[in-house]
């Protein structure tokens, strides 16, 4: 018993104890037989020759006891008692074994036993629920896959592929009557070869388109041709006043562009300008156009 005080004097607060961990507010004891986990005079297993703890191994709890009689035999120092699985019975067993022992140790043993049983219960409950499976990632594999994905992205040329697919669908007429592009409509008419009642002028328009298909493609660049086309249309409708012709042109052009919703393409403003430009042209080139028509 005397040596306990000496040991505590040495290890406890003054000199070095390898099990001691110090924090700002408190010190802890890392010794596996420690009852409370704190570094105290009454909790230190080294500085108390009569000591007891409760520890669990593989789900079963044991009571470990150390007495001064066995102090010179370190291999036999700790006596181990298996506690029953029943909580109350185990508490009684602790009381039995630690009868006549200091109150502090008895109380702390029971507290520790309670805590241990609680966490064992929680473990059993958790294993019944879904476990999160942790899969190790190989860094090399991850890097390789990332690199391959980037290369695949470049090779895919997604925008082009999507555009091509959409144009294919347009050609194969999956969109039906929604889009009315002139050449597209012309192809449709050719294939079906039905004079539809939508307008006979449409059919005549298409016939004229047949002659002037190339000019129509260069619509943006060669304004004079446009005026010719519009003149032909006007010829069909047999309207002489220039103002009415202009209005009709605007209408027909607007019809052609009615389906370009949303963003107006760059050609929009330039196309819109043409009717206004043609005002000047018409007066000058009308006779020339008329001779062409005839």
């Amino acid at each position: 018993m005397h040596s306990d005080d000496v040991v505590w004097d040495m290890l406890g607060n003054k000199q070095f104890c390898s099990y001691k961990i110090r924090t700002k507010t408190q010190s802890f004891c890392r010794n596996e037989y420690n009852l409370t986990g704190l570094c105290n005079r009454s909790s230190c297993p080294l500085a108390n020759s009569q000591y007891a703890t409760v520890r669990e191994e593989k789900g079963r709890c044991y009571l470990y006891m150390k007495t001064i009689e066995r102090a010179p035999f370190p291999s036999r120092l700790w006596e181990r008692v298996l506690l029953s699985k029943n909580y109350e019975k185990a508490l009684e067993e602790i009381d039995e074994n630690l009868i006549y022992w200091p109150r502090f140790i008895r109380h702390k043993c029971k507290q520790r036993f309670t805590k241990i049983t609680q966490y064992l219960i929680r473990i059993r409950k958790l294993t019944l629920k879904r476990q999160r499976k942790i899969v190790p990632l190989s860094r090399k594999v991850e890097r390789r896959e990332k690199r391959r994905e980037e290369k695949a992205l470049v090779a895919a040329q997604l925008d082009n592929a999507i555009e091509k697919e959409l144009l294919e669908r347009l050609k194969q007429d999956t969109y039906g009557d929604i889009y009315n592009f002139p050449i597209h409509a012309f192809d449709k008419a050719l294939q079906q070869q039905d004079a539809e009642s939508e307008s006979e002028s449409d059919v005549e328009k298409e016939e004229e388109d047949n002659e002037e298909v190339t000019e129509r493609d260069e619509r943006e660049f060669v304004e004079a041709d446009d005026s010719d086309i519009s003149d032909f249309e006007d010829m069909d409708k047999l309207e002489t006043s220039s103002e009415e012709e202009q209005e009709d042109e605007e209408e027909t052009e607007k019809k052609a562009h009615s389906k370009s919703k949303g963003k107006t393409p760059l050609k929009g403003p330039t196309r819109r300008k043409r009717p206004y430009l043609e005002i000047e042209y018409e007066k000058e080139t009308e006779p020339a156009a008329k001779t062409k028509a005839s």
């Binding site: 896959e145 990332k146 994905e149 695949a152 592929a161 999507i162 347009l170 929604i178 889009y179």
Partner: protein, 335 residues
């Protein structure tokens, strides 16, 4: 010979130039003269070595250009009889032929597809209804991604999982008439996995998801996707496995797209990576279309395809990605 004893470290132009030329014609048959090879890497001085290397590179380039010009001249000279241009080799060109590639006219495949689990969808007997959920405790990014995904896929609902087991969710979903279940797995605050399960008892596909971009991270994006049913584009699903995966994706969207909405969802398969994009398109003319990217984008890589609904322990796997066996060749793809 002077050629043999080349001055070390001397960028001797005469020697370097003369060496290979002299080596071309050995002087006498009795004394075999090895051509005095001189490689740039033997110069010990770094600056001179670098200089010599640059000059060598320029020479190579000049030779290559000359060769190309010559070839072009020959080609022009021949005119129509010129041999066809050599096609450069790409990985797609060199792809190892997969014996399960589906022939469009294959009857067996057509019959299989008429009787598999997606037949009711393709016969227009069922309307897709999709449940989107996540793994436990999703973080902000995943939540937002789920919301955006639900705007992209019509008739989809997002429900959060609060610790429920998938196996228990599935019967409830079937009872409430859901046709598909999407689970987005999250790791460290980013979504990285996707489980797509076709419900009544359809196949379950597990994908690895990468490169997730939310709408706000996409540059030059358009407005919010509207409620219209989008069109679906499935590119490059050639093999039998690819076909089934493609049909899985197709069955997520209702059969009749609303062309007024002008929206298109694309699943493009390239080298076993499936890229998902969501665009709005506009036909500027009959030969030109403009597309604008709207919704989220992500890439998927198939990890496993299971026959029944989700069951990791007892499920019957139709296809599992085995790295050791399947990733041995760079030219072999499975989708």
């Amino acid at each position: 010979m002077a050629a043999g004893g080349q001055g070390p470290g001397v960028g001797n132009m005469a020697a370097a130039g003369a060496g290979p030329e002299r080596g071309a014609e050995p002087p006498a048959p009795e004394r075999v003269l090895f051509p005095p090879t001189f490689s740039v890497s033997e110069i010990k001085n770094k600056q001179r070595r670098h200089f010599m290397f640059v000059r060598w590179k320029q020479q190579q380039r000049k030779e290559k250009l000359a060769l190309r010009k010559k070839r072009r001249k020959e080609r022009e000279a021949l005119g129509d009889k010129a041999p066809p241009k050599a096609v450069p080799k790409t990985i797609e060109n060199q792809r190892v032929y997969d014996e399960t590639t589906v022939d469009p006219n294959d009857e067996e495949v057509a019959f299989d597809e008429a009787t598999d689990e997606f037949a009711p969808y393709f016969n227009r007997q069922t309307v897709p209804k999709i449940l989107i959920t996540t793994s436990d405790r999703p973080r902000g990014r995943t939540v937002r991604f789920c919301e955006q995904l639900s705007t992209v896929i019509p008739n989809s609902h997002v429900y959060y999982r609060r610790g429920l087991a998938l196996k228990r969710i599935i019967p409830q979903c079937i009872a409430r008439d859901f046709t598909d279940l999407i689970v987005i797995n999250e790791d460290r605050k980013i979504p990285n996995g996707l489980v797509l399960s076709h419900l009544p008892d359809g196949p379950t596909a597990h994908f690895k998801m990468s490169s997730v971009r939310l709408r706000k991270e996409i540059k030059r994006k358009g407005k919010q996707p509207t409620e219209h049913v989008p069109e679906v584009i499935l590119n490059n699903f050639t093999t039998r496995l690819g076909h089934s995966v493609g049909r899985m994706f197709a069955s997520l969207f209702p059969h009749d797209p609303q062309f007024i909405g002008r929206q298109v969802a694309t699943f493009h398969n390239q080298r076993d990576y499936i890229f998902f994009r969501f665009h709005r398109y506009i036909f500027k003319s009959e030969k030109k279309v403009g597309i604008q990217e709207l919704g989220p984008r992500f890439t998927l890589k198939l990890r496993s395809l299971q026959k029944g609904t989700f069951d990791s322990k007892f499920g019957e796997y139709e296809w599992v990605h085995k790295r050791r066996e399947m990733d041995t060749s760079r030219r072999k793809f499975h989708l």
